[in-house]
Amino acid sequence: MHPENKNEAIILKPIHRPTTGDRLLWFALGGILLLGLSAWVRQYVLGLGVTGLNRPVYWGVYITNFVFFIGLAHSGTFISAILRIAGQGWRKPLTRAAEAITLFSLPFGVASILADMGRPERVFNIIFFGRYQSPILWDFTAVGLYFLSSIVFFYLSLLPDIALCRDRLTNVPRWQRRMYEILALGWQGHPEQFHRLEKVLDGMAIFMTMLVVTVHTVVSWMFGMTLQPGWHTALIGPFFLLGAILSGTAAVVIALAILRKVYKLEQVLHIGLFNSIRKLLITFTLGWIYMMIAEHLTIGYGNMKEEMVVLQDKFSGTYAAIFWSMALLVFGVPVLILIFKAKNNIAWMVTASILINVGMWLERYIVIIPSEVSPRLLPVMGQGIYLPTATEWLITAAWFSGLFLLYMTFTRFFPIIPVWETAEHLPEFEPEGLREAQAVQTGD
C-alpha cells in the first residue's frame, strides 16, 4: 500500500539514469574534491606550516569552516524537527531537502576538524583517552550524536519513499532496484507502520531539537571557555546558535530554488513555501542584529583594555573591511531585500540567502581571527597576522564541492520531496483501543 499523492509522478521524475550534464558536474565536483584531498595529503606530509597558521593565530579557515558547516547542518533539524513540534504543516514538502543539507554538511564539518589537526591519525585518542573536562569532548559527543541521530531521523522518514521507488521505478538499472529493495527494509506501507513511523518521528523531533541547541552551543564553547578577549562571553552560545539557524534556513532557500528550477518542481515547491521561509528569515536576521548589538555594546561600554583592542580592530582596524561587509551581507542588505522585494519573488529570496551565507561565513571568521591576532599579552608580543594560503582555500573549496556532490547525487537516486508526507491520503489507521472507545461512546 502506498500513499496517494497527485504529484507522485513529478516528484519521482528526476530519478533516472544520470544525464551527460550530471556526469560532467559530478566530474567537476569530484575533481575539486580530489584536488583538495591531495592538498590535504601534501599538508599531512609537509606539516601544517603549509597553511597561514602561526603563533598566535593557531586556528584559521579550517575552524571557520567547521563552525560554518555545523551551522548549515542546523537547517534540516530546524525545518523538520522544530517546525514539526510547532505543528507547522507547510514545512512538509521541504523537510527532506533541508534534512539532506544537515546530513551532508556534517561530514564536512568533521573533515574540517581533521584537516586542522596536526596529528589526524591520532584522532581515536579522543575515544581512548578522552575526558569531559575539555570542550572538544563536548563537541565530539554532541556532533557525533547529532550525526548519528540525523542519519536515523533522515532514514526513517525516507523509508516509505524508498519502498515507493522499489515498487514504482521498474525501469531503473538492476543494482539500483536491488538497492531500493535492501534499503526499504521490507516496508509494506501498512497503516500501522505509518502510525508508528509518525510516532517515532515525533519523539525524535523533540530529542533532535534539544540536540540542535546543544550542538551549536558547545561548538561556540570551544571559544567561549577560553579567556581570550572577545570570546569569553556567555552570549557566544546563543549567538552562534542563532547564526547557525539563520545560515541553515538561508541554505534551504538556495537548495529549494535550485531543485525547483532543475527538476521542474514548481508545482510542489510552490511560491507559498518561499513566502513562509521569508518570514522566518526576517525574524532571524532581526534576532541576529539584536545579538550583534547586545554583544558589542556590552564590550564597548565596559571598555576593558584587552577587549577594546579586539573591538577596535574589528570596527576601524585591520578587520574593519571584513566586519562591515559582514554586517551588510548578513543584515543590512538582506533585511531590505526580504522586507521589500522578496515577497512572491524567488530570485530575490535566493539573492538574500546567498548574501546571508557569505556573510555568515565571514562572521565566523571575524569572531575567530581578530581575537587570536590580539592576545592578552599584546603590548609585549605585538599583533599577529594571518593570511590563509592556497592549501587552505583548496581544502575549503573541496569540502564545499563534496557537499554539493553528495547532495546532487542523492537527489538523482531518491525523491527529494517526501511523497508520503505530502500525500493527500495515507493508508487509514484505526488503533484497536480507539475503536473500542468509540464503540463505548456511541453505545454500540
Partner: protein, 228 residues
Amino acid sequence: MPRWGMVIDLDKCFACQSCTAACRMENNTPVAGPDQTVLGRAILWNEVLPFIEGEYPLVHATMIPRPCMHCDNPPCTAVCPVRATYKNEEGIVVVDYQRCIGCRMCTVACPYAIRYFNWFPPEWPQSLNQHLNPDPEVAPRPKGVVEKCTFCIQRLHKAREKAAAEGRTFQATDYTPACVQTCTGHARYFGDLDDPNSLVSKLAHSPRAFRLLEELGTEPKVYYLKQG
C-alpha cells in the same frame, strides 16, 4: 612534594638572551629560520620580550624574560581533550608528545601564548645539528604536536637519580633549569615555593613581586621582581 617555581629579577636582567640560547641547546628546540620567524613560527620556550611604555623621549622599557608560567590553575591543561598536557604532582606542566593530537586548543587557551606548535618536522642547520642534546627525554619532537617549556624537567630526573646514586637525600638546590644556571646577571632564582626558607619563596613574597596577568586567576609560579 616540592612546588617548583621561578623568580626573575627585572632589575638584574639586561636582556642578553643567554637564557633563550641555553634553553634552545638544552631542550633541542628547532631552528625556524628567518622566513618562518617572520610568519610567527619560531619555537622559543624561553623568550625575552620588550615591554615599551610611552613614546620618546618619555619612554620606559622593561625586558621581560618569559618561560612557561607553570600555572597552578592552568587554562591549557583543562581544555586538552586527551590529557596529553597536564600538571604533574610537583606543579610542572608537561606535554605527552606521543599522545598529543595537535588540535591546538591548549595553545589557544593559554593567555600567555607560551605553547608552541610544530608546524614542520624539526630542522637544524648543519653546524647545529652536531650539537643536539643527546638526552632521550628531550629528543626532537615530531611535526604536528605542541611543545613548551618544562622547567627542564629532564634535569630534575637526573638530579634525583644522581642523589640516589650518591646515597643522599635529594635537595631542591640539586635541580636547576638551564636558563637559571646560565643567567649572566644572576637574575633568575629557582626552587621550592612551598619551602618557607627557600630563596624563591622569600623573593616571591617580596613587595616587588608580581606575576603576569595575575588578574586572570591562573596562579602562575613564575614571579617577577619589579624594576626599581
